[in-house]
């Protein structure tokens, strides 16, 4: 007979075995949610799951073409294609994580009737899926552009991976916080598009920090995302590009934001109202 999901009676001491059981259930639920999300979002029609990667890829390709012909953005030793690809992949990751994670609860509220599914599970599975999609698109396009001779392979692949992961941590934490904001107030849905647009200068995608005046540099380096993008680009194009970033600052911000995200998600359960 199927295993019973018995709600744990309250006020019982929480043992290590309980923790392991809860962790297993959570991993199982998140996996199932991701699979389900892939089917509902991309379906089985035409290219199906491939849309997941093709969608962000079209964005990056378009921007790369624009920048290549309009010029203006890249300076010095950085190839335009590489500059656009690193910058725009980061922007797409940021935008998709905040925009799509924030609406995940509204769309999946009925799932909360299943006791083992939590708000965190729904939000994190959406955020992880978005992140994975942008990552695959980023890697695929890197290979493609390299093959086409538009850019060369990363100077320091490990740093690229690390920079990309720290960037992912940041945008996922931001996405989780956006879930709270979206549930807290209807205004969020109205303003997030313009708000995301206004954050563009602080994504670090359009310029290297070192190209800017001193005063602007100080301000930009407060943005965790600028630090991540600088780090990513140094990994790609080498120390010659004079990247400016602090890993410890980035990690500290990420830890702080993740903590805030978890605390805020705790409160979402109290404020959601079913239709």
């Amino acid at each position: 007979m199927p295993e019973l999901i018995t709600p744990t009676p309250q006020r019982k001491p929480f043992t290590q075995a309980d923790f392991l059981h809860a962790a297993t259930v959570q991993v199982r639920v998140i996996k199932a949610l991701i699979l389900r999300e892939m089917i509902t979002r991309f379906g089985r029609h035409n290219i199906g799951f491939l849309w997941m990667f093709v969608e962000p890829m079209m964005f990056s390709i378009g921007i790369t073409i624009l920048w290549t012909y309009m010029g203006g953005h890249a300076k010095g030793t950085i190839p335009v294609a590489g500059f656009a690809l690193t910058g725009y992949s980061a922007i797409v990751a940021w935008r998709n994580s905040v925009g799509r994670t924030s609406s995940s609860i509204q769309a999946n509220k009925a799932l909360l009737y299943h006791r083992m599914v939590t708000i965190f599970d729904i939000a994190i599975s959406r955020a992880l899926l978005e992140w994975a999609a942008v990552s695959v698109s980023f890697v695929t396009l890197s290979i493609l552009f390299t093959e086409l001779g538009l850019m060369s392979l990363p100077v320091d692949p490990l740093q690229v991976v690390l920079g990309w992961v720290l960037l992912g941590w940041f945008v996922i934490a931001a996405g989780l916080i956006a879930v709270y904001l979206d549930e807290r107030s209807e205004i969020f849905e109205r303003v997030w598009h313009v708000a995301m647009y206004l954050t563009l200068p602080f994504t670090g995608a359009f310029t290297m920090v070192s190209w800017l005046p001193e005063a602007a540099q100080t301000i930009l380096l407060y943005s965790p995302m600028v630090n991540a993008v600088e780090m990513l680009r140094e990994g790609y194009f080498g120390v010659g590009i004079n990247a400016k970033y602090s890993i410890s600052y980035l990690v500290t911000c990420n830890i702080f934001l993740s903590g805030a995200a978890l605390l805020l998600l705790q409160r979402v359960k109290k404020i959601i109202t079913a239709d």
Binding site: P2, R36, T40, A110, Y113, V117, K269, T273
Partner: protein, 215 residues
């Protein structure tokens, strides 16, 4: 046992808090089949959402050592754009149950056949009700929450539900409805939800009589 102790819930309405439930006390023991009658807007769905764990009460406590199903009704817990089979697989995964066993049981019980390969949003209310009920039997909950549910099925399916429930005498039921017919079919005890309070009755007839008089 499922216990609700002084459960209260309010929602904002025209800028102030409107109390929907004003202190609900309810105990459901294993095997008990409880009906909750109430007019539209009496707070039945709110009560279901609270027992179902979708929302938390403003005050009071809900405790249970029984596993409680999602509300089995026309839509409950099912994703419309997924096929019946996708839903079976998803739910089996999160409940940690072998999907192929569940699939076999459900397709046998519901007689949905090839419809399982179609999106649930194309199902009739009765078909959804059948799918939800069969899944809840497959996952073997101790307590079934039924939201206007089984009334959607035809008499043949209602009979199947009866038989399935008769085999498991220890399964509890909490059913909310404003129709007396489905309640007569499945329940042996009735409460009437009126003006935010739950009124217990010792006999079904007394409950119906009171229900008939509330506004």
């Amino acid at each position: 046992m499922l216990t609700l102790h002084h459960v209260a819930k309010s929602y904002p309405l025209h800028g102030r808090m409107f109390p929907v439930l004003k202190g609900i006390d309810l105990t459901v023991t294993p095997g008990q089949k409880v009906a909750i009658l109430g007019r539209n807007g009496a707070g039945k769905s709110t009560l279901i959402r609270l027992i179902g764990g979708l929302e938390k009460p403003d005050s009071g406590e809900i405790q249970s050592n029984m596993s409680i199903s999602w509300p089995l009704g026309y839509a409950g817990g099912m994703q419309g754009s997924l096929t019946g089979l996708d839903n079976i697989y998803f739910l089996s995964r999160i409940y940690g149950v072998n999907p192929s066993e569940v699939k076999e049981y459900v397709s046998d019980f519901t007689e949905l056949g090839a419809f399982l390969l179609e999106p649930v949003k194309t199902y009739s209310a009765g078909m959804r009700g059948r799918l939800a009920f069969a899944l809840s039997m497959a996952f073997d909950f101790d307590c079934l929450l039924i939201d206007e549910g089984l009334s959607a099925g035809d008499s043949r399916f209602t009979q199947r539900c009866r038989d399935a429930l008769d085999q498991r005498k220890d399964k509890a039921i909490v059913m909310v409805s404003h129709s007396q017919a489905s309640i007569k079919e499945f329940c042996d005890q009735a409460y009437v939800l009126d003006q935010g309070r739950l009124n217990p009755f010792t006999s079904m007839n007394a409950a119906y009589q009171f229900y008939g008089n509330c506004h």
